[in-house]
């Protein structure tokens, strides 16, 4: 190499890229305009879906024509956005260095080719880093698309940040339900509620969604184990007969309820109850009934098939602290607990990460596992998994404890593209493995078994 020229060249900072997805009408343009006109002091380029190129004050807007380039080898993870490679390549030649780049996709876009562009193309990889995928959701209308639109599901599944927008058009309960549903599809995204896309810029830009060092800077739901119930409430019950009522709600065939007596209201008591409830519900086979009596310590399965109010009696022999676990959210069924005419309300409630969701083919599977993993076994399992179901796995992230290594191994992936490295040492922190998969038709039991089999 002549004269050591390369040493003299400064390595430029990689410019963060944010991808903005969302159905038509979700508010992408409003958010873009907000970002373009807000006085944030950043130099931002926006690549829009429309023809043309204009400079606005401190920003630059470039029109793009979505061009999806598939490779001759047929590999879906090599599919990229050809137009972006050209546009971004030219953008990086400008002297006025950019602080951020925002890419708006069309309403029906599959986010994968956009994301893959930043991992597959060396030129893009050198100069740019994909920071995050932000998905805007029209809270009022998204429910219509969630069940049937593949694109809508994928936009949610791929997201690092989800904005539930237009919250003023729905009730608080509807919003809670929507958030639960979206959370079940994507366990690692940060979810924000907005009106008119009003959101602080730092919630959308520079979120580190693909940053290995920040792989677990996400929601607690990501770390929370999965339970066979979605909700619990602690009640102080007096002796006597109580009545639990459910109204018609979501189309589930039945709902499991379980009442446990607690020694007190302490966290310790609750933790023990959680374990007991998980075991009881997983191990008990209950027949659905339309009424009957709910006895403490015994799983009761209420059939939701017949229309109309379902009534279950609860006999309390001695007053005390009880916890009620429900398979679905009580709000879905306007659940009430009454003693005589008076409503009995829980003193505290908790929502859980559901182990599965029945009406969405897109789900998240999070696995937390104690112990060290065998590196070879893990490699073999992951390679096989990605080869067989890489098209169905949209994103995955994990922090792993590999036997014989004193540093945390962090990794993330988009479809079959996989990126991982040893990060900071475990130090005093307890070693464990945390992993989340987001995808379509995921078999959580098989994933759990496969992951478990990688233990050293």
């Amino acid at each position: 190499m002549p004269a050591g020229q390369a040493d003299a060249r400064e390595l430029p900072r990689r410019v963060p890229v944010t991808v903005l997805t969302g159905f038509l009408g979700a508010g992408k343009t409003t958010l873009l305009n907000r970002i373009l006109t807000e006085n944030h002091g950043k130099k931002i380029a926006v690549i829009e879906n429309e023809f043309g190129e204009v400079g606005i004050d401190n920003a630059l807007v470039i029109g793009a024509d979505e061009e999806i380039f598939e490779m001759n080898n047929g590999c879906i993870c090599c599919t990229v956005r050809g137009d972006l490679i050209r546009i971004l390549g030219n953008l990086m030649r400008r002297r006025d260095k950019l602080d951020a780049i925002l890419i708006e996709t069309t309403g029906l876009a599959d986010p994968a080719p956009v994301a893959q562009t930043f991992f597959v193309d060396e030129e893009m990889k050198d100069q740019l880093r994909l920071d995050g995928i932000v998905t805007l959701v029209d809270s009022k209308h998204v429910a219509l698309h969630l069940g049937e639109s593949k694109e809508c599901q994928e936009q949610i599944a791929f997201a690092d940040v989800i904005l539930l927008n237009k919250t003023d058009l729905v009730t608080a309960e509807e919003l809670d339900l929507l958030e639960r549903r979206i959370r079940s599809m994507n366990a690692m995204a940060r979810i924000h509620r907005t009106q008119n896309t009003a959101i602080a810029l730092d919630r959308v830009l520079d979120v580190g969604g693909f940053d290995l060092g920040r792989a677990l800077d996400t929601r607690p739901a990501f770390l929370e184990p999965e339970y066979p119930f979605e909700w619990s409430g602690i009640y102080l019950l007096d002796a006597g007969e109580h009545l639990l009522t459910l109204q018609d709600g979501s189309p589930d065939p039945s709902m499991d309820v379980l009442l446990l007596r607690l020694p007190d209201e302490s966290e310790q008591a609750m933790a023990t109850a959680l374990d007991r409830a998980t075991r009881l519900i997983s191990e008990t086979r209950a027949q659905p009934t339309t009424g009957g009596e709910l006895r403490p310590e015994s799983l009761h399965r209420i059939s939701l098939a017949p229309k109309g109010e379902k009534r279950v009696t609860v006999q309390v022999s001695e007053p005390g602290v009880f916890v009620l676990f429900t398979q679905h959210l009580p709000a879905e069924f306007s659940m009430r607990l009454r003693r005589g005419r008076a409503d009995v309300r829980p003193t505290s409630t908790h929502q859980y990460n559901p182990g599965h969701e029945h009406d969405n083919s897109v789900t998240s599977v999070s696995i937390v596992l104690e112990g060290d993993l065998h590196q070879e076994k893990l490699n073999r399992w992951l390679s096989k998994l990605l080869l067989e179901s890489g098209t169905d796995i949209f994103r995955m992230k994990g922090i792993l404890s590999i036997a014989g290594q004193d540093r945390r191994f962090v990794f993330q992936g988009v479809h079959m593209l996989f990126d991982g490295e040893p990060e900071r040492p475990w130090g005093k922190e307890e070693r464990s493995n945390q992993m989340v998969f987001i995808g379509r038709n995921l078999d959580s039991a098989a994933l759990d078994r496969g992951f478990r089999a990688c233990l050293a």
Partner: protein, 357 residues
């Protein structure tokens, strides 16, 4: 793929020996990222397009003679007419402009059809100018600048060339190669290839059409028969292609090593390329000296290397040079006495060609 990976592996154990460091004959800073370079056919002028927009015209000694305003938001391409009296430019304002050096305003302003005009080509007789803008190929009559042909593509055009003097053109895009003829609105012929072709060079004798591909390969067609051949195994996508004037050798980038394919006889099918190693970072451009097999290669590491590109003529660079900035483009002066190289820093630098021993 015929032996590229093997050739690279075989070479990688050998260290290049140090070659003579060549001093530039001149250095000019145009003040912005140079996106394209073009020597006038007589070699009196060197046009430089810049990412900021202006087009700078240098004299043969690097003296700045003119500065045209170029294209708002950035210039992308420059090309001199075959007689050298007019300069065409394309840019990110969706226009192609034709300049007569010395006039402050352009002689013509042409709408390419999409947001950017990226490709320009004068016909051999200078009677027509073709522009490639997004999915639109347009042909303009150079006597009155009327549009005489418009050919729509399903995808963005990545390469554009005239074929002889017959009013025929060839373009590359995602999905294949298309052949066009003035007066015929649809493609005369298409060579389909499911892959993203990102650049195209037709051999000077017209026999071969070569495309670099997004998937780190080079695709080759025999233009007469459409018979094709793929060279895969490059470390990077291949955007750098350079033919020798006699159409015998094709130099390719797509990594830190220059690969030279021999197209004599029945072509490169089943052969191994010769490899020239001297850059530490990816190659930005390659170009053969007009009329010879002397090859210049420019690296993203800022290094410039001269090679004897002919078969079996040694692995050692004939001379090297460099600047402390990433290289972007190379252009030989038409008489082959010197090569101009553009660097991201804004420098345009000329080196005299070393003599081939």
């Amino acid at each position: 793929m015929p032996g590229l990976r093997e050739a690279l592996v075989a070479e990688s154990s050998k260290r290049p020996t140090r070659s003579a460091e060549l001093e530039p004959s001149w250095v000019v800073d145009i003040g912005d990222f140079p996106t394209d370079l073009a020597w006038s056919p007589g070699g009196e002028r060197l046009a430089v397009a810049s990412a900021a927009g202006p087009i700078v015209v240098l004299g043969s000694e690097g003296d700045e003679q003119l500065r045209h305003r170029g294209h708002e938001l950035g210039s992308l391409a420059v090309d001199w007419s075959p007689q050298g009296e007019r300069l065409a430019s394309g840019g990110q304002d969706g226009r192609a402009r034709v300049w007569v050096p010395g006039d402050s305003s352009p002689q013509a302003e042409l709408r390419g059809g999409a947001a950017w005009v990226e490709l320009l080509a004068w016909s051999e007789d200078g009677g027509h100018l073709a522009t490639g803008s997004g999915k639109f190929l347009k042909v303009w009559d150079a006597s009155d600048w009327s549009e005489v042909g418009s050919f729509d593509h399903p995808n963005t055009i990545s390469g554009l060339a005239w074929r002889g003097e017959s009013g025929r053109l060839v373009t590359s895009s995602y999905g294949g190669i298309q052949f066009w003829e003035l007066g015929q609105p649809t493609a005369r012929r298409t060579f389909r290839w499911k892959g993203s072709l990102i650049c195209m060079r037709v051999s000077p004798n017209g026999r071969w059409i070569i495309c670099g591909s997004q998937d780190c390969s080079v695709h080759i067609w025999k233009s007469a028969s459409g018979q094709d051949l793929e060279m895969s195994g490059y470390p990077l996508k291949v955007k750098q292609l350079g033919w020798s004037d006699d159409s015998r050798y094709l130099a390719t980038g797509g990594g830190a090593d220059v690969c030279i394919w021999d197209f004599s006889g029945r072509g490169p099918a089943g052969t191994r390329p010769e490899v020239r190693q001297g850059h530490v970072d990816a190659i930005a451009d390659v170009a053969f000296q007009p009329g010879s097999h002397l090859l210049a290669s420019l690296g993203r590491d800022g290094s410039l290397c001269f090679w004897n590109g002919a078969k079996g003529k040694g692995k050692k660079a004939l001379g090297t040079g460099g600047r402390p900035s990433s290289g972007s483009k190379l252009a030989w002066s038409p008489d082959g006495t010197s090569v101009a190289a553009a660097f991201e820093s804004g420098e345009v630098v000329a080196w005299k060609a070393p003599s081939v021993s």
